[in-house]
Symmetry: C2
Subunit: 218 residues, 2 copies
Amino acid sequence: MILNNGGVGYKIPSETELSVSFSASRMTARKAVDEIVNKGLLKRIPSVGTFVEEPPAQSSLLEIKNISKEISARGHRHKMTVLSKMTLIPNDSVAQSLSSFNSKVFKIVIIHFENDIPIQLEERYVNADLVPNFLEQDFSKITANEYLSSVHPLTDAEIVIEAIMPTNILKHNLEIDEKTPCIKVSRSTMSNGYTISHAILYYPSNRYKLTSSIHLTR
Amino acid sequence: MILNNGGVGYKIPSETELSVSFSASRMTARKAVDEIVNKGLLKRIPSVGTFVEEPPAQSSLLEIKNISKEISARGHRHKMTVLSKMTLIPNDSVAQSLSSFNSKVFKIVIIHFENDIPIQLEERYVNADLVPNFLEQDFSKITANEYLSSVHPLTDAEIVIEAIMPTNILKHNLEIDEKTPCIKVSRSTMSNGYTISHAILYYPSNRYKLTSSIHLTR
DNA sequence: ACACTATACCGGTATATACAACGAAGGAAT
DNA sequence: ATTCCTTCGTTGTATATACCGGTATAGTGT
Protein backbone atom coordinates (compact mmCIF):
# COMPACT_ATOMS: atom_id res chain seq x y z
CA MET A 1 0.00 0.00 0.00
CA ILE A 2 1.17 3.49 -0.73
CA LEU A 3 0.16 6.45 1.34
CA ASN A 4 0.48 9.20 -1.20
CA ASN A 5 -3.00 10.53 -0.64
CA GLY A 6 -1.59 13.31 1.44
CA GLY A 7 1.72 14.79 2.31
CA VAL A 8 3.14 15.76 5.64
CA GLY A 9 0.40 16.24 8.16
CA TYR A 10 -2.06 13.93 6.42
CA LYS A 11 -4.08 11.87 8.84
CA ILE A 12 -4.08 8.26 7.82
CA PRO A 13 -7.19 6.14 8.31
CA SER A 14 -7.77 4.89 11.82
CA GLU A 15 -6.60 1.46 12.77
CA THR A 16 -10.13 0.17 12.65
CA GLU A 17 -10.69 1.56 9.17
CA LEU A 18 -7.43 0.08 7.95
CA SER A 19 -8.33 -3.31 9.33
CA VAL A 20 -11.63 -3.22 7.47
CA SER A 21 -10.25 -2.04 4.14
CA PHE A 22 -7.50 -4.64 4.25
CA SER A 23 -9.67 -7.39 5.66
CA ALA A 24 -7.28 -7.87 8.53
CA SER A 25 -7.61 -7.61 12.23
CA ARG A 26 -6.99 -4.36 13.99
CA MET A 27 -3.94 -5.85 15.70
CA THR A 28 -2.41 -6.71 12.37
CA ALA A 29 -3.10 -3.30 10.92
CA ARG A 30 -1.69 -1.73 14.03
CA LYS A 31 1.48 -3.74 13.75
CA ALA A 32 1.96 -2.62 10.17
CA VAL A 33 1.54 0.98 11.21
CA ASP A 34 3.93 0.36 14.08
CA GLU A 35 6.74 -0.43 11.70
CA ILE A 36 6.27 2.82 9.81
CA VAL A 37 6.05 4.72 13.07
CA ASN A 38 9.34 3.22 14.17
CA LYS A 39 10.92 4.45 10.96
CA GLY A 40 9.82 7.93 11.92
CA LEU A 41 7.54 8.43 8.95
CA LEU A 42 4.33 8.36 10.94
CA LYS A 43 3.49 9.83 14.31
CA ARG A 44 0.79 8.63 16.64
CA ILE A 45 -1.19 11.01 18.77
CA PRO A 46 -3.27 9.08 21.29
CA SER A 47 -6.98 9.65 21.09
CA VAL A 48 -6.52 11.69 17.95
CA GLY A 49 -5.00 9.74 15.12
CA THR A 50 -1.87 8.88 13.18
CA PHE A 51 -0.24 11.44 10.95
CA VAL A 52 2.40 11.59 8.24
CA GLU A 53 5.61 13.02 9.64
CA GLU A 54 8.36 15.00 8.04
CA PRO A 55 10.90 12.43 6.87
CA PRO A 56 13.71 12.36 9.41
CA ALA A 57 16.23 14.25 7.31
CA GLN A 58 18.95 13.85 9.89
CA SER A 59 17.75 10.44 10.84
CA SER A 60 21.09 9.06 11.76
CA LEU A 61 23.70 10.58 13.88
CA LEU A 62 26.37 12.33 12.57
CA GLU A 63 23.35 13.48 10.75
CA ILE A 64 23.26 14.25 7.10
CA LYS A 65 22.76 17.85 7.90
CA ASN A 66 20.90 20.19 5.68
CA ILE A 67 23.05 23.24 5.97
CA SER A 68 20.36 25.49 4.64
CA LYS A 69 17.83 24.46 7.27
CA GLU A 70 20.50 24.47 9.90
CA ILE A 71 21.38 28.09 9.21
CA SER A 72 17.76 29.09 8.96
CA ALA A 73 17.10 27.44 12.31
CA ARG A 74 19.65 29.79 13.80
CA GLY A 75 17.70 32.67 12.38
CA HIS A 76 20.42 33.53 9.91
CA ARG A 77 20.54 33.98 6.15
CA HIS A 78 21.87 31.20 3.99
CA LYS A 79 23.39 31.93 0.59
CA MET A 80 25.10 29.67 -1.90
CA THR A 81 27.52 30.58 -4.66
CA VAL A 82 28.49 28.11 -7.33
CA LEU A 83 32.21 28.38 -8.01
CA SER A 84 32.40 25.87 -10.81
CA LYS A 85 30.46 23.24 -12.68
CA MET A 86 32.07 20.68 -14.90
CA THR A 87 31.73 17.25 -16.41
CA LEU A 88 34.62 14.86 -15.89
CA ILE A 89 35.79 11.63 -17.33
CA PRO A 90 36.51 9.74 -14.12
CA ASN A 91 40.17 9.00 -14.09
CA ASP A 92 41.24 10.23 -10.70
CA SER A 93 40.64 8.42 -7.48
CA VAL A 94 37.81 10.55 -6.19
CA ALA A 95 35.74 10.09 -9.28
CA GLN A 96 36.37 6.39 -9.30
CA SER A 97 35.06 6.13 -5.78
CA LEU A 98 31.68 6.69 -7.37
CA SER A 99 32.18 3.32 -9.04
CA SER A 100 30.98 4.82 -12.27
CA PHE A 101 33.63 3.55 -14.60
CA ASN A 102 33.10 4.26 -18.27
CA SER A 103 30.62 6.99 -17.51
CA LYS A 104 30.74 10.65 -16.80
CA VAL A 105 30.86 12.39 -13.48
CA PHE A 106 29.62 15.85 -12.62
CA LYS A 107 31.72 18.01 -10.36
CA ILE A 108 30.48 21.12 -8.65
CA VAL A 109 32.06 23.44 -6.14
CA ILE A 110 29.83 25.57 -3.95
CA ILE A 111 30.45 28.00 -1.14
CA HIS A 112 27.84 28.33 1.57
CA PHE A 113 27.45 31.57 3.47
CA GLU A 114 25.83 32.30 6.79
CA ASN A 115 25.00 35.99 6.94
CA ASP A 116 27.49 36.56 4.10
CA ILE A 117 30.28 34.84 6.01
CA PRO A 118 31.65 31.73 4.28
CA ILE A 119 31.05 28.68 6.40
CA GLN A 120 31.37 25.67 4.11
CA LEU A 121 33.10 24.83 0.89
CA GLU A 122 31.37 21.94 -0.82
CA GLU A 123 33.18 19.92 -3.46
CA ARG A 124 30.82 17.36 -4.85
CA TYR A 125 31.07 14.59 -7.41
CA VAL A 126 27.87 13.12 -8.77
CA ASN A 127 27.27 10.00 -10.79
CA ALA A 128 26.07 11.41 -14.11
CA ASP A 129 24.33 8.21 -15.11
CA LEU A 130 22.13 8.16 -12.07
CA VAL A 131 21.48 11.89 -11.84
CA PRO A 132 21.64 13.13 -15.43
CA ASN A 133 19.98 16.48 -14.75
CA PHE A 134 22.09 17.40 -11.79
CA LEU A 135 23.96 20.33 -13.29
CA GLU A 136 20.78 21.94 -14.56
CA GLN A 137 19.45 22.59 -11.09
CA ASP A 138 19.28 26.08 -9.64
CA PHE A 139 21.55 25.74 -6.67
CA SER A 140 20.55 29.10 -5.32
CA LYS A 141 17.19 27.59 -4.50
CA ILE A 142 17.86 23.98 -3.62
CA THR A 143 20.99 22.50 -2.11
CA ALA A 144 22.76 19.75 -3.94
CA ASN A 145 22.02 17.42 -1.08
CA GLU A 146 18.33 18.24 -1.14
CA TYR A 147 18.07 17.66 -4.88
CA LEU A 148 19.92 14.37 -4.71
CA SER A 149 17.74 13.18 -1.83
CA SER A 150 14.63 13.97 -3.80
CA VAL A 151 15.85 11.97 -6.79
CA HIS A 152 17.39 9.04 -4.97
CA PRO A 153 16.35 8.45 -1.35
CA LEU A 154 19.38 8.03 0.84
CA THR A 155 19.85 4.54 2.18
CA ASP A 156 23.50 4.40 3.21
CA ALA A 157 26.34 6.77 3.83
CA GLU A 158 29.96 6.62 4.78
CA ILE A 159 31.60 9.50 6.50
CA VAL A 160 35.20 10.32 7.26
CA ILE A 161 36.14 13.30 9.39
CA GLU A 162 39.60 14.81 9.42
CA ALA A 163 41.30 17.94 10.63
CA ILE A 164 43.45 19.62 8.00
CA MET A 165 45.37 22.82 7.44
CA PRO A 166 43.79 25.01 4.80
CA THR A 167 45.02 24.95 1.24
CA ASN A 168 45.36 28.20 -0.62
CA ILE A 169 41.98 27.66 -2.19
CA LEU A 170 40.42 27.12 1.19
CA LYS A 171 42.12 30.14 2.71
CA HIS A 172 40.83 32.34 -0.07
CA ASN A 173 37.30 31.06 -0.25
CA LEU A 174 36.64 30.54 3.42
CA GLU A 175 38.40 33.80 4.28
CA ILE A 176 40.70 32.34 6.89
CA ASP A 177 44.41 32.59 7.55
CA GLU A 178 46.94 29.82 7.28
CA LYS A 179 46.78 29.12 11.01
CA THR A 180 43.10 28.21 11.08
CA PRO A 181 42.53 24.49 10.71
CA CYS A 182 39.51 23.10 8.93
CA ILE A 183 37.23 20.17 9.43
CA LYS A 184 37.14 18.02 6.33
CA VAL A 185 34.11 15.78 6.01
CA SER A 186 34.16 13.25 3.20
CA ARG A 187 30.80 11.69 2.66
CA SER A 188 29.68 9.07 0.18
CA THR A 189 25.96 8.70 -0.15
CA MET A 190 24.35 5.62 -1.55
CA SER A 191 20.88 4.69 -2.63
CA ASN A 192 19.89 1.06 -2.99
CA GLY A 193 23.43 -0.08 -3.55
CA TYR A 194 24.45 2.61 -6.01
CA THR A 195 26.84 5.35 -5.04
CA ILE A 196 25.06 8.54 -5.92
CA SER A 197 27.46 11.19 -4.83
CA HIS A 198 30.71 11.85 -3.06
CA ALA A 199 30.97 15.14 -1.22
CA ILE A 200 33.93 16.76 0.45
CA LEU A 201 32.90 19.46 2.86
CA TYR A 202 35.34 21.90 4.40
CA TYR A 203 34.44 23.95 7.46
CA PRO A 204 36.57 26.64 9.06
CA SER A 205 37.11 25.56 12.63
CA ASN A 206 36.78 29.06 14.01
CA ARG A 207 33.22 29.34 12.75
CA TYR A 208 31.81 25.84 12.76
CA LYS A 209 31.56 22.80 14.98
CA LEU A 210 30.00 19.50 14.08
CA THR A 211 27.47 18.40 16.66
CA SER A 212 25.51 15.24 17.14
CA SER A 213 23.11 13.82 19.66
CA ILE A 214 22.52 10.18 20.37
CA HIS A 215 19.48 8.80 22.11
CA LEU A 216 19.27 5.11 22.66
CA THR A 217 16.14 4.98 24.77
CA ARG A 218 13.39 5.11 22.19
CA MET B 1 12.67 -7.77 35.69
CA ILE B 2 16.39 -8.15 35.47
CA LEU B 3 18.14 -10.68 33.33
CA ASN B 4 21.36 -11.09 35.24
CA ASN B 5 21.11 -14.84 35.44
CA GLY B 6 23.54 -15.18 32.61
CA GLY B 7 25.82 -13.09 30.52
CA VAL B 8 26.28 -12.99 26.79
CA GLY B 9 25.02 -16.15 25.20
CA TYR B 10 22.58 -16.97 27.99
CA LYS B 11 19.33 -18.39 26.73
CA ILE B 12 16.40 -16.66 28.33
CA PRO B 13 13.27 -18.61 29.19
CA SER B 14 10.94 -19.31 26.33
CA GLU B 15 8.03 -17.00 25.72
CA THR B 16 5.67 -19.56 27.16
CA GLU B 17 7.72 -19.94 30.32
CA LEU B 18 7.94 -16.18 30.73
CA SER B 19 4.20 -15.84 30.33
CA VAL B 20 3.63 -18.41 33.07
CA SER B 21 6.14 -17.04 35.56
CA PHE B 22 4.83 -13.52 35.15
CA SER B 23 1.19 -14.55 34.96
CA ALA B 24 0.79 -12.82 31.66
CA SER B 25 -0.19 -13.99 28.24
CA ARG B 26 2.42 -15.16 25.81
CA MET B 27 1.70 -12.19 23.57
CA THR B 28 2.43 -9.79 26.39
CA ALA B 29 5.63 -11.55 27.31
CA ARG B 30 6.61 -11.58 23.67
CA LYS B 31 6.04 -7.88 23.37
CA ALA B 32 8.29 -7.22 26.33
CA VAL B 33 11.00 -9.35 24.80
CA ASP B 34 10.45 -7.56 21.50
CA GLU B 35 11.47 -4.26 23.00
CA ILE B 36 14.74 -5.65 24.25
CA VAL B 37 15.37 -7.33 20.93
CA ASN B 38 14.86 -4.02 19.17
CA LYS B 39 17.49 -2.47 21.42
CA GLY B 40 19.88 -5.13 20.21
CA LEU B 41 20.41 -6.73 23.61
CA LEU B 42 18.62 -9.97 22.76
CA LYS B 43 18.61 -12.04 19.62
CA ARG B 44 15.93 -14.42 18.54
CA ILE B 45 16.70 -17.64 16.75
CA PRO B 46 13.51 -19.19 15.41
CA SER B 47 12.79 -22.67 16.63
CA VAL B 48 15.66 -22.45 19.09
CA GLY B 49 15.30 -19.66 21.60
CA THR B 50 16.20 -16.13 22.54
CA PHE B 51 19.72 -15.29 23.63
CA VAL B 52 21.58 -12.46 25.31
CA GLU B 53 23.58 -10.52 22.75
CA GLU B 54 26.76 -8.57 23.04
CA PRO B 55 25.69 -5.01 23.81
CA PRO B 56 25.89 -2.99 20.61
CA ALA B 57 29.03 -1.09 21.50
CA GLN B 58 28.93 1.18 18.49
CA SER B 59 25.19 1.22 18.37
CA SER B 60 24.79 4.69 17.06
CA LEU B 61 26.63 6.40 14.37
CA LEU B 62 29.29 8.52 15.12
CA GLU B 63 29.67 5.51 17.27
CA ILE B 64 30.85 5.61 20.79
CA LYS B 65 33.99 3.90 19.68
CA ASN B 66 35.94 1.60 21.89
CA ILE B 67 39.43 2.62 20.96
CA SER B 68 40.91 -0.54 22.42
CA LYS B 69 38.78 -2.83 20.30
CA GLU B 70 39.25 -0.59 17.33
CA ILE B 71 43.01 -0.87 17.51
CA SER B 72 42.87 -4.58 18.17
CA ALA B 73 40.65 -5.00 15.14
CA ARG B 74 43.44 -3.51 13.05
CA GLY B 75 45.77 -6.13 14.47
CA HIS B 76 47.75 -3.58 16.42
CA ARG B 77 48.72 -3.25 20.05
CA HIS B 78 46.81 -0.88 22.29
CA LYS B 79 48.45 0.64 25.35
CA MET B 80 47.20 3.24 27.79
CA THR B 81 49.18 5.49 30.07
CA VAL B 82 47.54 7.46 32.83
CA LEU B 83 49.07 10.93 32.95
CA SER B 84 47.15 12.23 35.95
CA LYS B 85 44.34 11.43 38.30
CA MET B 86 42.75 14.01 40.55
CA THR B 87 39.64 14.95 42.44
CA LEU B 88 38.22 18.38 41.77
CA ILE B 89 35.73 20.68 43.35
CA PRO B 90 33.74 21.64 40.31
CA ASN B 91 34.20 25.34 39.84
CA ASP B 92 35.21 25.60 36.22
CA SER B 93 32.87 25.32 33.34
CA VAL B 94 33.80 21.84 32.24
CA ALA B 95 33.15 20.32 35.62
CA GLN B 96 29.86 22.14 35.91
CA SER B 97 28.73 20.63 32.66
CA LEU B 98 28.44 17.43 34.63
CA SER B 99 25.68 19.18 36.57
CA SER B 100 27.19 17.89 39.74
CA PHE B 101 27.14 21.01 41.81
CA ASN B 102 28.14 20.65 45.44
CA SER B 103 29.81 17.36 44.74
CA LYS B 104 33.21 16.19 43.64
CA VAL B 105 34.41 15.41 40.18
CA PHE B 106 37.15 13.03 39.15
CA LYS B 107 39.51 14.09 36.41
CA ILE B 108 41.80 11.73 34.58
CA VAL B 109 44.11 12.22 31.64
CA ILE B 110 45.11 9.21 29.58
CA ILE B 111 47.20 8.74 26.46
CA HIS B 112 46.32 5.90 24.14
CA PHE B 113 48.98 4.30 21.99
CA GLU B 114 48.70 2.22 18.86
CA ASN B 115 51.89 0.23 18.46
CA ASP B 116 53.60 2.66 20.86
CA ILE B 117 52.59 5.65 18.76
CA PRO B 118 50.33 8.11 20.58
CA ILE B 119 46.99 8.33 18.90
CA GLN B 120 44.57 9.83 21.40
CA LEU B 121 44.76 12.07 24.43
CA GLU B 122 41.76 11.53 26.64
CA GLU B 123 40.78 14.15 29.20
CA ARG B 124 37.85 12.91 31.17
CA TYR B 125 35.68 14.30 33.93
CA VAL B 126 33.51 11.90 35.88
CA ASN B 127 30.68 12.56 38.28
CA ALA B 128 32.08 11.28 41.57
CA ASP B 129 28.68 10.79 43.13
CA LEU B 130 27.52 8.45 40.44
CA VAL B 131 30.78 6.59 39.91
CA PRO B 132 32.52 6.67 43.31
CA ASN B 133 35.04 3.95 42.53
CA PHE B 134 36.16 5.36 39.21
CA LEU B 135 39.69 6.32 40.13
CA GLU B 136 40.39 2.92 41.66
CA GLN B 137 40.10 1.12 38.34
CA ASP B 138 43.11 -0.32 36.59
CA PHE B 139 43.08 1.64 33.38
CA SER B 140 45.75 -0.52 31.86
CA LYS B 141 43.16 -3.28 31.65
CA ILE B 142 39.86 -1.55 31.06
CA THR B 143 39.23 1.71 29.27
CA ALA B 144 37.44 4.46 31.14
CA ASN B 145 34.63 4.23 28.66
CA GLU B 146 34.26 0.50 29.14
CA TYR B 147 34.15 0.80 32.91
CA LEU B 148 31.63 3.61 32.85
CA SER B 149 29.43 1.67 30.44
CA SER B 150 29.48 -1.32 32.73
CA VAL B 151 28.40 0.75 35.72
CA HIS B 152 25.88 2.99 34.02
CA PRO B 153 24.48 1.85 30.67
CA LEU B 154 24.71 4.62 28.13
CA THR B 155 21.40 6.08 27.11
CA ASP B 156 22.26 9.45 25.60
CA ALA B 157 25.27 11.28 24.33
CA GLU B 158 26.11 14.64 22.90
CA ILE B 159 29.09 15.09 20.68
CA VAL B 160 30.87 18.13 19.35
CA ILE B 161 33.67 17.83 16.81
CA GLU B 162 36.16 20.59 16.14
CA ALA B 163 39.46 21.06 14.41
CA ILE B 164 42.08 22.79 16.53
CA MET B 165 45.75 23.61 16.50
CA PRO B 166 47.69 21.68 19.11
CA THR B 167 48.51 23.20 22.45
CA ASN B 168 51.94 22.64 23.90
CA ILE B 169 50.60 19.80 25.98
CA LEU B 170 49.13 18.16 22.90
CA LYS B 171 52.29 18.65 20.87
CA HIS B 172 54.33 16.99 23.56
CA ASN B 173 52.07 14.09 24.37
CA LEU B 174 50.87 13.28 20.87
CA GLU B 175 54.36 13.81 19.46
CA ILE B 176 53.33 16.19 16.73
CA ASP B 177 54.62 19.54 15.55
CA GLU B 178 52.85 22.85 15.75
CA LYS B 179 51.62 22.56 12.17
CA THR B 180 49.63 19.38 12.69
CA PRO B 181 46.00 20.07 13.49
CA CYS B 182 44.00 17.88 15.82
CA ILE B 183 40.48 16.62 15.92
CA LYS B 184 38.84 17.55 19.20
CA VAL B 185 35.86 15.45 20.18
CA SER B 186 33.87 16.61 23.19
CA ARG B 187 31.46 14.00 24.35
CA SER B 188 28.99 14.04 27.21
CA THR B 189 27.54 10.69 28.09
CA MET B 190 24.34 10.32 30.03
CA SER B 191 22.54 7.47 31.68
CA ASN B 192 18.87 7.76 32.56
CA GLY B 193 18.98 11.51 32.71
CA TYR B 194 22.19 11.83 34.72
CA THR B 195 25.35 13.09 33.15
CA ILE B 196 27.93 10.47 33.94
CA SER B 197 31.01 11.75 32.25
CA HIS B 198 32.39 14.42 29.99
CA ALA B 199 35.29 13.42 27.79
CA ILE B 200 37.49 15.52 25.58
CA LEU B 201 39.37 13.42 23.06
CA TYR B 202 42.21 14.78 20.96
CA TYR B 203 43.44 12.96 17.85
CA PRO B 204 46.41 13.93 15.72
CA SER B 205 45.07 14.45 12.23
CA ASN B 206 48.05 12.87 10.58
CA ARG B 207 47.39 9.55 12.27
CA TYR B 208 43.67 9.35 12.84
CA LYS B 209 40.43 9.88 10.99
CA LEU B 210 36.97 9.59 12.43
CA THR B 211 34.79 7.32 10.36
CA SER B 212 31.14 6.45 10.48
CA SER B 213 28.72 4.41 8.47
CA ILE B 214 25.01 4.96 8.24
CA HIS B 215 22.53 2.38 7.12
CA LEU B 216 18.90 3.33 7.07
CA THR B 217 17.53 0.11 5.73
CA ARG B 218 17.83 -1.93 8.88
C1' DA C 1 26.17 -48.61 15.30
C1' DC C 2 23.79 -45.99 12.17
C1' DA C 3 19.98 -43.83 9.77
C1' DC C 4 15.46 -42.48 9.81
C1' DT C 5 11.14 -40.85 11.93
C1' DA C 6 7.92 -39.03 15.11
C1' DT C 7 7.19 -35.73 18.47
C1' DA C 8 7.74 -31.81 21.40
C1' DC C 9 9.31 -27.19 21.69
C1' DC C 10 10.23 -22.66 19.97
C1' DG C 11 9.68 -18.40 17.72
C1' DG C 12 6.65 -15.94 13.96
C1' DT C 13 2.31 -14.55 12.71
C1' DA C 14 -2.56 -13.57 12.51
C1' DT C 15 -7.15 -13.08 14.62
C1' DA C 16 -10.87 -11.86 17.77
C1' DT C 17 -11.97 -9.63 21.87
C1' DA C 18 -12.09 -6.60 25.78
C1' DC C 19 -11.07 -2.62 28.39
C1' DA C 20 -8.51 1.75 29.62
C1' DA C 21 -7.17 6.44 28.78
C1' DC C 22 -7.74 10.44 26.50
C1' DG C 23 -9.24 14.05 23.20
C1' DA C 24 -12.61 16.10 20.34
C1' DA C 25 -17.09 17.43 19.38
C1' DG C 26 -21.57 18.39 20.28
C1' DG C 27 -25.47 19.31 23.16
C1' DA C 28 -27.56 20.92 27.42
C1' DA C 29 -27.80 23.92 31.19
C1' DT C 30 -26.88 28.21 33.15
C1' DA D 1 -22.11 33.46 25.29
C1' DT D 2 -19.99 30.43 28.38
C1' DT D 3 -19.47 26.40 31.00
C1' DC D 4 -20.25 21.68 31.94
C1' DC D 5 -21.21 17.05 30.70
C1' DT D 6 -21.99 13.24 27.79
C1' DT D 7 -20.81 10.60 23.89
C1' DC D 8 -17.97 8.87 20.42
C1' DG D 9 -13.72 7.90 18.08
C1' DT D 10 -8.93 6.84 18.54
C1' DT D 11 -4.81 4.99 20.30
C1' DG D 12 -2.75 1.94 24.00
C1' DT D 13 -2.70 -2.36 26.21
C1' DA D 14 -3.64 -7.03 27.59
C1' DT D 15 -5.52 -11.65 26.83
C1' DA D 16 -6.70 -16.04 24.75
C1' DT D 17 -6.41 -18.77 20.77
C1' DA D 18 -4.93 -20.91 16.60
C1' DC D 19 -1.78 -22.23 13.12
C1' DC D 20 2.80 -22.35 10.58
C1' DG D 21 7.50 -23.70 9.88
C1' DG D 22 11.64 -24.59 11.73
C1' DT D 23 14.95 -27.08 15.15
C1' DA D 24 16.28 -30.36 18.47
C1' DT D 25 15.72 -34.53 20.65
C1' DA D 26 14.24 -39.02 21.75
C1' DG D 27 12.81 -43.06 20.00
C1' DT D 28 12.48 -46.63 16.46
C1' DG D 29 13.88 -49.56 12.83
C1' DT D 30 17.44 -51.48 10.13
